[in-house]
Amino acid sequence: MNDDREENDKEGNGLYRQMGSLSTIGINLVVATLVGFAMGYYLDKWFGTKPILMIIFTIFGVAAGFKIIFEIINKK
């Protein structure tokens, strides 16, 4: 196989990589919010503090979704 190509793209920032990460933006924003909500919901069930952790972790989930998008866009 052509090992000389390894010198050229050591960073591995090919077109495929950018396309792959860009195609995940939509689903990640939704799933991040849902995961945050689920974590808060079950932690609430565990500790018995009904709405507090749910609200906090939903906000964390939204923040995580936007952070994922920010990281993908900000990449060189």
């Binding site: 190509r5 390894e6 793209d9 990589r17 792959g20 990640n28 991040a32 995961v35 994922i68």
Partner: protein, 224 residues
Amino acid sequence: MEHSVVYFLLPLNPHIAEKFRFVFLAVLVTIILTTISFLVTRRLETIPKGKQNVFELIISALLDFMKDVMGHESRRFFPLIGSLAFFILTSNLLGLIPGFDSPTGNINTTASCAIVVFFATHYYGFKAHGIKYIKHFTGPIGWLAPLMIPIELVSHIVRPVSLSIRLFGNIFGGHLVLASFAALVPLIVPLPMMVMEIFVAFVQTIVFIMLSMIYISLSVEEAH
């Protein structure tokens, strides 16, 4: 839906066969892949011909693709990513044969693939950085760490969830469309959808392995 082929392959109680048919089909995929790889690698030659040629073409194309995404470390992760690619592609295509079902059309199969990727990501990250791997979670500014750790935790848990839901949703949805078309007009009409399904099977395999590669290389790289 109709009776799966599993009923005829295994002398089982139909209720159990119906309940666990995805497991049996996943085992069937594994058996198919093991048999093929045994047959191909049994007699390797320097100048390949026949089936060895075909598989060398597939594997070198996959390795080139990995080099494009991951850079120079791609050969180290080839066993994991390559097995995932072959397993998922065979599973996706198995559902197009009448009487069979895709093992990836069940959330448990895709979730198990995604969980393997999740643990592999953190294993390789921890192996590459040692205890400094925690810097991937604390963010760039020190005093913001208590805020960043839950956010990073959520964003790491999102990865396997979105991986498994994407693959499962595409395959399951495709089969649902095929089943309803076949129920309406069984003759010619489902054919374009089946061609579309072959395309979806390849694209979803590529997306799955590409995201796995991106996640692994992100955790092996230095923290931003």
